[in-house]
Symmetry: C2
Subunit: 158 residues, 2 copies
Protein backbone atom coordinates (compact mmCIF):
# COMPACT_ATOMS: atom_id res chain seq x y z
CA UNK A 1 0.00 0.00 0.00
CA UNK A 2 1.27 3.43 -0.96
CA UNK A 3 0.05 6.64 0.69
CA UNK A 4 1.18 10.29 0.81
CA UNK A 5 3.07 11.27 3.97
CA UNK A 6 1.61 13.76 6.46
CA UNK A 7 3.21 15.98 9.14
CA UNK A 8 2.91 13.16 11.67
CA UNK A 9 5.20 10.96 9.56
CA UNK A 10 8.17 13.33 9.83
CA UNK A 11 9.96 11.36 12.53
CA UNK A 12 9.67 8.13 10.52
CA UNK A 13 10.83 9.91 7.36
CA UNK A 14 13.93 11.10 9.26
CA UNK A 15 14.65 7.52 10.35
CA UNK A 16 14.29 6.29 6.78
CA UNK A 17 16.60 9.03 5.44
CA UNK A 18 19.24 8.00 8.00
CA UNK A 19 18.80 4.33 7.04
CA UNK A 20 19.21 5.24 3.36
CA UNK A 21 22.38 7.22 4.12
CA UNK A 22 23.78 4.23 5.99
CA UNK A 23 23.00 1.95 3.03
CA UNK A 24 24.73 4.45 0.71
CA UNK A 25 27.71 4.69 3.11
CA UNK A 26 27.13 8.44 3.33
CA UNK A 27 26.03 8.79 6.96
CA UNK A 28 28.83 11.31 7.55
CA UNK A 29 27.01 13.70 5.17
CA UNK A 30 23.73 13.70 7.11
CA UNK A 31 23.06 16.85 9.14
CA UNK A 32 19.29 16.56 8.97
CA UNK A 33 17.12 18.37 11.54
CA UNK A 34 13.64 16.94 12.14
CA UNK A 35 11.83 20.21 12.88
CA UNK A 36 13.35 21.84 9.83
CA UNK A 37 12.47 18.87 7.62
CA UNK A 38 8.85 19.09 8.84
CA UNK A 39 8.76 22.75 7.86
CA UNK A 40 10.37 22.06 4.46
CA UNK A 41 7.96 19.24 3.62
CA UNK A 42 4.71 20.39 5.23
CA UNK A 43 5.14 24.14 5.78
CA UNK A 44 3.74 26.92 3.59
CA UNK A 45 6.60 26.58 1.05
CA UNK A 46 6.87 22.85 0.38
CA UNK A 47 10.16 21.81 -1.24
CA UNK A 48 9.36 18.12 -1.75
CA UNK A 49 6.63 15.50 -1.53
CA UNK A 50 6.83 12.10 0.13
CA UNK A 51 5.07 8.81 -0.58
CA UNK A 52 5.24 5.97 1.94
CA UNK A 53 5.12 2.21 1.42
CA UNK A 54 3.11 0.54 4.18
CA UNK A 55 3.04 -3.18 5.01
CA UNK A 56 0.76 -4.53 7.73
CA UNK A 57 0.43 -1.05 9.24
CA UNK A 58 4.20 -0.41 9.32
CA UNK A 59 6.03 2.10 7.15
CA UNK A 60 8.70 0.10 5.34
CA UNK A 61 9.86 2.49 2.62
CA UNK A 62 9.59 5.96 1.15
CA UNK A 63 10.06 8.04 -1.95
CA UNK A 64 10.87 11.76 -1.74
CA UNK A 65 10.55 13.83 -4.92
CA UNK A 66 10.04 17.31 -6.33
CA UNK A 67 9.50 18.91 -9.71
CA UNK A 68 12.29 19.86 -12.02
CA UNK A 69 11.89 21.48 -15.45
CA UNK A 70 13.15 20.58 -18.90
CA UNK A 71 13.53 23.58 -21.17
CA UNK A 72 14.07 21.31 -24.20
CA UNK A 73 10.71 19.62 -23.62
CA UNK A 74 9.14 22.81 -22.25
CA UNK A 75 7.54 20.66 -19.56
CA UNK A 76 8.05 19.94 -15.87
CA UNK A 77 9.50 16.62 -14.80
CA UNK A 78 9.79 14.73 -11.54
CA UNK A 79 13.12 14.30 -9.78
CA UNK A 80 13.26 11.45 -7.33
CA UNK A 81 15.69 12.45 -4.60
CA UNK A 82 15.30 9.36 -2.41
CA UNK A 83 13.84 5.90 -2.91
CA UNK A 84 14.38 3.43 -0.09
CA UNK A 85 12.85 0.24 1.25
CA UNK A 86 14.10 -1.18 4.54
CA UNK A 87 16.41 -4.15 3.76
CA UNK A 88 14.24 -6.64 5.67
CA UNK A 89 11.21 -5.71 3.52
CA UNK A 90 12.81 -5.91 0.09
CA UNK A 91 11.81 -8.25 -2.74
CA UNK A 92 8.09 -7.74 -2.16
CA UNK A 93 7.52 -5.04 -4.75
CA UNK A 94 7.50 -1.98 -2.46
CA UNK A 95 10.16 -0.15 -4.48
CA UNK A 96 8.35 -0.80 -7.72
CA UNK A 97 5.01 0.22 -6.18
CA UNK A 98 6.56 3.55 -5.07
CA UNK A 99 8.01 4.17 -8.52
CA UNK A 100 4.73 3.19 -10.15
CA UNK A 101 2.82 5.66 -7.98
CA UNK A 102 5.26 8.37 -9.04
CA UNK A 103 4.94 7.39 -12.72
CA UNK A 104 1.17 7.82 -12.39
CA UNK A 105 1.63 11.24 -10.77
CA UNK A 106 4.01 12.19 -13.60
CA UNK A 107 1.31 11.41 -16.17
CA UNK A 108 -1.43 13.22 -14.19
CA UNK A 109 0.78 16.31 -13.93
CA UNK A 110 1.94 16.39 -17.56
CA UNK A 111 5.56 15.56 -16.73
CA UNK A 112 7.77 14.37 -19.56
CA UNK A 113 10.59 12.86 -17.51
CA UNK A 114 11.26 10.99 -14.31
CA UNK A 115 14.87 11.22 -13.17
CA UNK A 116 17.06 10.20 -10.26
CA UNK A 117 20.73 9.53 -9.45
CA UNK A 118 22.26 6.24 -8.41
CA UNK A 119 25.66 5.41 -6.97
CA UNK A 120 27.75 3.59 -9.55
CA UNK A 121 28.49 0.61 -7.26
CA UNK A 122 24.80 0.02 -6.54
CA UNK A 123 24.39 -2.80 -9.07
CA UNK A 124 21.11 -4.26 -7.74
CA UNK A 125 19.40 -0.87 -8.05
CA UNK A 126 20.89 -0.23 -11.49
CA UNK A 127 19.61 -3.59 -12.76
CA UNK A 128 16.17 -2.80 -11.31
CA UNK A 129 16.06 0.64 -12.93
CA UNK A 130 17.14 -0.75 -16.31
CA UNK A 131 14.40 -3.40 -16.10
CA UNK A 132 11.87 -0.55 -15.89
CA UNK A 133 13.18 1.07 -19.07
CA UNK A 134 15.23 3.82 -17.39
CA UNK A 135 18.35 4.94 -19.28
CA UNK A 136 21.67 6.05 -17.74
CA UNK A 137 22.65 9.58 -18.80
CA UNK A 138 26.27 8.49 -19.23
CA UNK A 139 27.36 11.50 -21.26
CA UNK A 140 26.48 13.96 -18.48
CA UNK A 141 28.30 14.70 -15.21
CA UNK A 142 26.68 16.57 -12.35
CA UNK A 143 28.78 19.34 -10.81
CA UNK A 144 28.18 20.56 -7.28
CA UNK A 145 29.19 23.67 -5.37
CA UNK A 146 28.82 23.52 -1.61
CA UNK A 147 28.86 26.18 1.13
CA UNK A 148 32.48 27.31 0.90
CA UNK A 149 32.61 27.63 -2.88
CA UNK A 150 29.17 29.28 -3.00
CA UNK A 151 30.23 31.87 -0.43
CA UNK A 152 33.53 32.51 -2.19
CA UNK A 153 31.79 33.10 -5.52
CA UNK A 154 29.02 35.20 -3.98
CA UNK A 155 31.55 37.37 -2.15
CA UNK A 156 33.82 38.19 -5.07
CA UNK A 157 33.63 41.70 -6.37
CA UNK A 158 32.61 41.97 -10.01
CA UNK B 1 24.23 43.59 -15.85
CA UNK B 2 22.06 40.77 -14.50
CA UNK B 3 18.29 41.13 -14.10
CA UNK B 4 15.36 38.73 -13.47
CA UNK B 5 13.32 37.84 -16.56
CA UNK B 6 9.70 38.93 -16.95
CA UNK B 7 6.81 37.63 -19.09
CA UNK B 8 7.87 39.91 -21.95
CA UNK B 9 11.24 38.13 -22.17
CA UNK B 10 9.68 34.74 -23.01
CA UNK B 11 10.36 34.97 -26.74
CA UNK B 12 14.02 35.81 -26.14
CA UNK B 13 14.32 33.00 -23.57
CA UNK B 14 12.98 30.58 -26.21
CA UNK B 15 15.60 31.77 -28.69
CA UNK B 16 18.35 31.33 -26.10
CA UNK B 17 17.15 27.80 -25.22
CA UNK B 18 17.26 26.89 -28.93
CA UNK B 19 20.75 28.39 -29.24
CA UNK B 20 21.91 26.39 -26.20
CA UNK B 21 20.47 23.17 -27.68
CA UNK B 22 22.35 23.87 -30.91
CA UNK B 23 25.58 24.40 -28.98
CA UNK B 24 24.97 21.12 -27.11
CA UNK B 25 24.15 19.34 -30.43
CA UNK B 26 20.76 18.40 -29.00
CA UNK B 27 18.45 20.47 -31.20
CA UNK B 28 16.57 17.29 -32.19
CA UNK B 29 15.37 17.03 -28.56
CA UNK B 30 13.77 20.49 -28.46
CA UNK B 31 9.95 20.49 -28.65
CA UNK B 32 9.55 23.74 -26.73
CA UNK B 33 6.33 25.75 -27.07
CA UNK B 34 6.56 29.48 -26.31
CA UNK B 35 3.06 29.95 -24.86
CA UNK B 36 3.49 26.93 -22.60
CA UNK B 37 6.93 28.10 -21.46
CA UNK B 38 5.44 31.51 -20.56
CA UNK B 39 2.80 29.76 -18.46
CA UNK B 40 5.39 27.50 -16.78
CA UNK B 41 7.72 30.38 -15.92
CA UNK B 42 5.31 33.21 -15.18
CA UNK B 43 1.95 31.52 -14.51
CA UNK B 44 0.41 30.82 -11.10
CA UNK B 45 2.53 27.66 -10.62
CA UNK B 46 6.07 28.70 -11.54
CA UNK B 47 8.41 25.77 -12.25
CA UNK B 48 11.60 27.76 -12.73
CA UNK B 49 13.19 31.20 -12.47
CA UNK B 50 15.28 32.98 -15.08
CA UNK B 51 18.07 35.53 -14.82
CA UNK B 52 19.25 37.42 -17.89
CA UNK B 53 22.66 38.85 -18.75
CA UNK B 54 22.31 42.19 -20.51
CA UNK B 55 25.02 44.03 -22.45
CA UNK B 56 24.37 47.46 -23.94
CA UNK B 57 20.60 46.85 -23.75
CA UNK B 58 20.78 43.45 -25.47
CA UNK B 59 20.08 40.13 -23.78
CA UNK B 60 23.20 38.04 -24.37
CA UNK B 61 22.77 35.14 -21.94
CA UNK B 62 20.50 33.46 -19.43
CA UNK B 63 20.39 31.14 -16.45
CA UNK B 64 17.29 29.04 -15.72
CA UNK B 65 17.06 27.36 -12.33
CA UNK B 66 14.70 25.89 -9.73
CA UNK B 67 14.93 24.52 -6.20
CA UNK B 68 15.81 20.95 -5.43
CA UNK B 69 16.06 19.46 -1.94
CA UNK B 70 18.79 17.54 -0.13
CA UNK B 71 17.44 15.20 2.54
CA UNK B 72 20.97 14.61 3.87
CA UNK B 73 21.45 18.34 4.48
CA UNK B 74 17.77 18.86 5.30
CA UNK B 75 17.96 22.02 3.19
CA UNK B 76 16.83 23.17 -0.23
CA UNK B 77 19.38 23.65 -2.98
CA UNK B 78 19.43 25.31 -6.36
CA UNK B 79 19.57 23.28 -9.56
CA UNK B 80 20.79 25.18 -12.58
CA UNK B 81 19.06 23.66 -15.60
CA UNK B 82 20.52 26.01 -18.23
CA UNK B 83 23.41 28.46 -18.34
CA UNK B 84 24.19 29.99 -21.71
CA UNK B 85 25.93 33.03 -23.13
CA UNK B 86 25.74 33.70 -26.86
CA UNK B 87 29.10 32.68 -28.42
CA UNK B 88 29.82 36.19 -29.75
CA UNK B 89 29.51 37.62 -26.22
CA UNK B 90 31.70 35.14 -24.35
CA UNK B 91 34.86 35.93 -22.45
CA UNK B 92 33.43 39.08 -20.88
CA UNK B 93 32.32 37.55 -17.57
CA UNK B 94 28.60 37.16 -18.31
CA UNK B 95 28.57 33.45 -17.39
CA UNK B 96 30.38 34.11 -14.15
CA UNK B 97 28.10 37.06 -13.35
CA UNK B 98 25.04 34.82 -13.84
CA UNK B 99 26.52 32.12 -11.61
CA UNK B 100 27.50 34.71 -9.02
CA UNK B 101 23.96 36.11 -8.91
CA UNK B 102 22.67 32.57 -8.33
CA UNK B 103 25.27 31.95 -5.62
CA UNK B 104 24.01 35.09 -3.85
CA UNK B 105 20.39 33.90 -4.15
CA UNK B 106 21.46 30.50 -2.76
CA UNK B 107 22.87 32.20 0.34
CA UNK B 108 19.82 34.49 0.77
CA UNK B 109 17.52 31.47 0.56
CA UNK B 110 19.47 29.17 2.89
CA UNK B 111 20.47 26.74 0.15
CA UNK B 112 23.32 24.35 0.87
CA UNK B 113 24.13 23.31 -2.67
CA UNK B 114 24.26 24.61 -6.20
CA UNK B 115 24.21 21.86 -8.82
CA UNK B 116 24.04 21.44 -12.59
CA UNK B 117 24.93 18.89 -15.27
CA UNK B 118 27.51 19.28 -18.01
CA UNK B 119 28.15 17.24 -21.16
CA UNK B 120 31.38 15.29 -20.76
CA UNK B 121 32.89 16.67 -24.00
CA UNK B 122 32.33 20.29 -22.95
CA UNK B 123 35.89 20.88 -21.73
CA UNK B 124 35.81 24.71 -21.67
CA UNK B 125 32.77 24.68 -19.38
CA UNK B 126 34.22 21.95 -17.17
CA UNK B 127 37.44 23.94 -16.71
CA UNK B 128 35.39 27.05 -15.88
CA UNK B 129 33.26 25.18 -13.31
CA UNK B 130 36.33 23.64 -11.66
CA UNK B 131 37.91 27.09 -11.41
CA UNK B 132 34.92 28.17 -9.31
CA UNK B 133 35.39 25.28 -6.87
CA UNK B 134 32.64 23.04 -8.25
CA UNK B 135 33.24 19.29 -7.90
CA UNK B 136 32.18 16.58 -10.38
CA UNK B 137 29.92 13.96 -8.78
CA UNK B 138 31.76 11.20 -10.62
CA UNK B 139 30.44 8.35 -8.51
CA UNK B 140 26.80 9.08 -9.42
CA UNK B 141 24.91 8.39 -12.65
CA UNK B 142 21.57 10.00 -13.46
CA UNK B 143 18.88 7.66 -14.75
CA UNK B 144 15.99 8.93 -16.83
CA UNK B 145 12.61 7.48 -17.75
CA UNK B 146 10.78 9.19 -20.60
CA UNK B 147 7.18 9.05 -21.87
CA UNK B 148 7.04 5.44 -23.09
CA UNK B 149 8.68 3.88 -20.03
CA UNK B 150 6.67 6.09 -17.64
CA UNK B 151 3.42 5.07 -19.33
CA UNK B 152 4.38 1.39 -19.33
CA UNK B 153 5.20 1.45 -15.61
CA UNK B 154 2.10 3.50 -14.73
CA UNK B 155 -0.14 1.13 -16.69
CA UNK B 156 1.06 -2.15 -15.19
CA UNK B 157 -1.31 -3.86 -12.84
CA UNK B 158 0.05 -4.36 -9.36
Amino acid sequence: MIRPATRDDTHTICELIRALAEYERLSDQVVLDEARLREHLFGPRSFAEVLLAVEAGHIVGFALFFHNYSTFLGRPGIYLEDLFVRPEHRGKGHGKALLQAIARLAIERGCGRLEWAVLDWNEPSIAFYRSLGAQPMDEWTTFRMTDDAIERLAGETT
